[in-house]
């Protein structure tokens, strides 16, 4: 696997209800230097973000219980404080209308591609805040 160079900063939030998928992706991202938190559905993710946590990027599944990814995207878009946080949608479904403006990757994702996109999103976010 030829991932990007290890990043020393960069917080990533994974929003997915599949525990095994989250576990593996969390390990892979952490092994590339990212700090990773996770939420089991959209509502948990919103609660996390409303504590003031600001990840460089959110990796979002769409089909989830309680609050799905589309509902999360709608809630994020209507919240000025959260609307600028980049989102990478990782989905088994076809991209939905609410996700058209987001970066959408279809499962199974190419890991190098995902790492490159996470790296790019983190770089943009960090530049914005520097």
């Amino acid at each position: 696997m030829n991932g990007p160079a290890a990043t020393t900063c960069g917080n990533v939030l994974i929003v997915d209800d599949d525990v095994d998928g989250v576990d593996a992706l969390k390990y892979l991202l952490e092994s590339h230097g990212y700090h990773v938190d996770s939420a089991g559905n959209g509502r948990e993710a919103l609660e996390y973000l409303r504590t003031g946590a600001r990840p460089c990027v959110v990796i979002l599944d769409l089909a989830m219980p309680v609050m799905n990814g589309w509902q999360f995207l709608a809630a994020r878009q209507s919240d000025e404080a959260l609307a600028s946080i980049p989102v990478i949608v990782v989905t088994a479904s076809q991209p939905a209308p609410g996700a058209e403006s987001e970066l959408v990757m279809t499962k199974p994702v190419d890991l190098d591609d995902l790492l490159a996109r996470v790296g790019a999103a983190c770089a943009v976010t960090e530049r914005r805040h520097s």
Binding site: M1, D20, A24, L28, V109
Partner: protein
């Protein structure tokens, strides 16, 4: 059969569906349905979005001399959160929430038919979860089989995509006992206008049917089978993507651990391989289901 005065909502049917285009029409239909129940002293329940609740209450006040406070209102999205799990309605949670509510009403008002309007299915369709909506219709049908409930569902036509040759629409209709007049048909002034409307629609539909017929002369059947195959491949592809995704992540995590750890954590690696294997088992189960369905359809 008792029918409401203006919309044709059945008062003795068990499960009806209204396809509608605008909220005002829906509010009128639901208000008529509820007013019929209220006049007969029946318990009435509405599970709707806040916007539709407001419109239904206004239509009840404007069109009917009934006490709107006698209607029990529940928020559609809030109610969904009580039983949705992993993107699907969970049977046990549905029984504990909606089922318990219906049972309690049935106990408190014995011998009374419950009039219920629900649009959680429309909310699911708006969220592109049509499969979950169809499952929810099935759970409602199970409830209706046990309790005296007249359930009215509603779908806004704009939330129903037609990418599968109408198969999903047919499936949704099949979940109900009665399909009520669509908004455009209901708006026609008389029977002659309604017949002209239907004739015009059938004429337009011919443009979308295949021009040629097979050796048996069944063009519609050919189209339906084709749509069903497209839908089958689409669903199967979607179902396979999730376990394959997790399987790949687990294997890539294991490879990553081998490449960066000087002393590999063997128990950690074993756990990842076991999780990958569990996903591979899921893939084979889905493949078995697919083959079984294919054989079933061939037979």
């Amino acid at each position: 059969m008792l029918r409401s005065e203006t919309t044709g909502v059945s008062a003795t049917g068990a499960h009806a569906v209204q396809f509608y285009e605008d909220d005002e029409f829906l509010a009128t239909v639901v208000a008529d349905f509820l007013a019929t129940g209220l006049r007969l002293g029946r318990p009435c329940v509405v599970i709707a979005t806040l916007e539709h609740r407001t419109a239904i209450e206004a239509a009840l006040r404007h069109n009917h001399a009934v006490d709107v406070d006698d209607v029990l209102y529940l928020d559609a999205r809030e109610t969904l959160t009580q039983f949705m799990f992993d993107g699907r309605p969970d049977r046990a949670r549905f029984a504990e929430s909606v089922g318990r509510l219906v049972a309690d009403i049935a106990v408190s008002a014995p011998e009374k038919v419950i009039h219920a309007f629900g649009e959680m299915v429309n909310v699911l369709c708006a969220d592109r979860m049509v499969g979950a909506a169809i499952e929810l219709e099935g759970l409602w049908n199970d409830l209706i089989a046990r309790y005296a409930v007249h359930l009215l569902c509603a779908y806004q036509t704009s939330v129903l995509r037609n990418a599968d040759g109408g198969a999903t629409f047919d499936h949704l209709c099949g979940c109900h006992i009665d399909v009520l007049s669509t908004q455009r048909l209901a708006m026609q002034p008389d029977e002659a206008a309604r017949l002209r409307h239907i004739a015009r629609l059938e004429h337009r539909v011919r443009d979308f049917e295949p021009a040629s017929v097979d050796e048996r002369g069944f063009p519609a059947l050919v189209e339906t089978e084709s749509a069903a195959r497209v839908r089958f491949v689409s669903v199967a592809s979607h179902e396979l993507r999730n376990p394959v995704h997790v399987l790949r992540l687990q294997l890539q995590a294991a490879l990553r651990a081998l490449s960066i750890d000087e002393v590999p954590d063997l128990s950690g690696l074993r756990a990842r391989i076991e999780r990958a294997d569990a996903q591979a088992v899921k893939v084979s189960q889905i493949l078995d289901d697919m083959l079984m369905q294919l054989r079933h359809s061939e037979n």
